[in-house]
Amino acid sequence: MKMNDDRIRWLADGSESLDSEMLREYGQPEAEEAPDAFEMPHPRERRYYHLLHTWTHRRGERLMNRMYSVAVVLICVAICALLIATTADMPRFGDAAPLEDDNLSEFYVEEGYRHTGAANIVTGIILDFRGFDTLGESHVLFIALCTVLMLLYLPKKSDPKTMREWLESEADDRRFEPHADLILQQGAVLLVPLVLVFGVYILLNGHLSPGGGFSGGTVLGAGLILYLLAYGFRKTERFFNFRTYRRLTTSALLFYALSKGYIFFTGANGISNGVGTGRFGAILSGGLLLPLSVAVGLVVACTMYVLYTLFRKGDL
């Protein structure tokens, strides 16, 4: 119960009291261990031992470090030289030769839009031909976030094990992050809507112009992080908490997996899937590419934002 009282006091007094507490805790010199009493029978032996010991500690360590550095530099230079020598066999930079032997790229460029209905061939490739690959990518992001959550999540319980870590991260948060900064807030008023609208634009135009789920999602996440920086956790908690994250991400991933599975199943069995490719160049063209890139974008935006909050204070 004492820990709990401490926490309340620290939170009420601000970080200064916590600082002095931590200073008292860590500032105490550690108890020195008595050196091993090492009995050497002969004084000459003892002197040799002493010489060897000092040499290892002063010169030997430095010598080993220097040898390691030299070896590392040599190995890196050798690897670089080997790789650069290999580039001599490659076609010249900017040459069309690699594309001429490449039937796959030729197929993607010439036939891609007829199969996918997307003006942007790269989006057609990553969301249609290589759709399962992109699904795996989204899951890689999701799993990475789960790992970071396991490593950094600090529940605000009065568990004495995580108490100190939580208090330290809270103190860091108070010390290093801006609080109600006027310039930042006024800038955010102008910038956040623009950034969010631009993110949505990139997200929705991924099959027509440069962009797509990953880039649009990153811009959306950056907008959310800017809002959080300017206005703090109290404001963002109202519309984005852990439950929102869980619901959004799992439903987006589930939607992606189900629709992709449906498309591949019907395509493999020669059944018409009932989703046309739409008129070329319109916002609703490209069949399922638009909803798929929105799903990917939601996953990416949420993941970026939650990663930031986890690194900042271990909680949402």
Binding site: Y26, V72, V73, I75, C76, V77, I79, C80, L83, I84, A85, T87, A88, M90, R92, F93, G94, D95, A96, P98, L99, D102, L104, S105, E106, Y108, V109, E110, G112, Y113, A119, N120, I121, V122, I125, I126, R130, D133, E137, V140, L141, A144, L145, T147, V148, L151, L152, E165, E168, L208, S209, P210, G212, F214, F280, G281, V300, L307, L310, F311
Partner: protein, 127 residues
């Protein structure tokens, strides 16, 4: 070798960046700097792939209007762009995990020096 420098300047730059990142990864004792080196190696690979896909004088692979048969001779290679996109997401994920592990290690040992962390972990094991 000289021929490589004149004909493949972009690829050579990417490979030198790779070497710098690799030596950074091996030489630095600070965990954060090691992670920076790792990210540099990632970026070098993307630069390499992107320069491999580029073809001088051709357009980005986005069709301007509906054409009956888009010709492959008009556009750059779209495949490396897709691969780089995949790679960037994976490198973001791995960087996040590495940084999270570093934060945990720092909270436990209050140092970023990898030698000191290894020494203290060994001491804790023996005790």
């Amino acid at each position: 070798m000289l021929n490589a420098l004149t004909d493949h300047l972009e690829e050579v730059a990417a490979l030198i960046l790779f070497g710098i990142g690799f030596s950074n990864l091996l030489l630095n004792r600070n965990m954060i700097k090691k992670i920076i080196g790792f990210s540099m190696m990632d970026s070098a690979i993307y630069l390499f792939l992107a320069s491999y896909g580029y073809i001088r004088g051709r357009l980005a692979p986005i069709l301007p209007a509906e054409t009956p048969a888009p010709s492959v001779t008009q556009y750059v290679n779209p495949l490396p762009a897709g691969l780089v996109l995949t790679g960037i997401v994976v490198s973001v994920s791995s960087t996040a995990i590495m940084l999270a592990l570093t934060v945990r290690l720092y909270r436990r040992y209050h140092t970023l020096n990898i030698d000191e962390i290894a020494m203290r972990a060994k001491e804790a094991d023996e005790a």
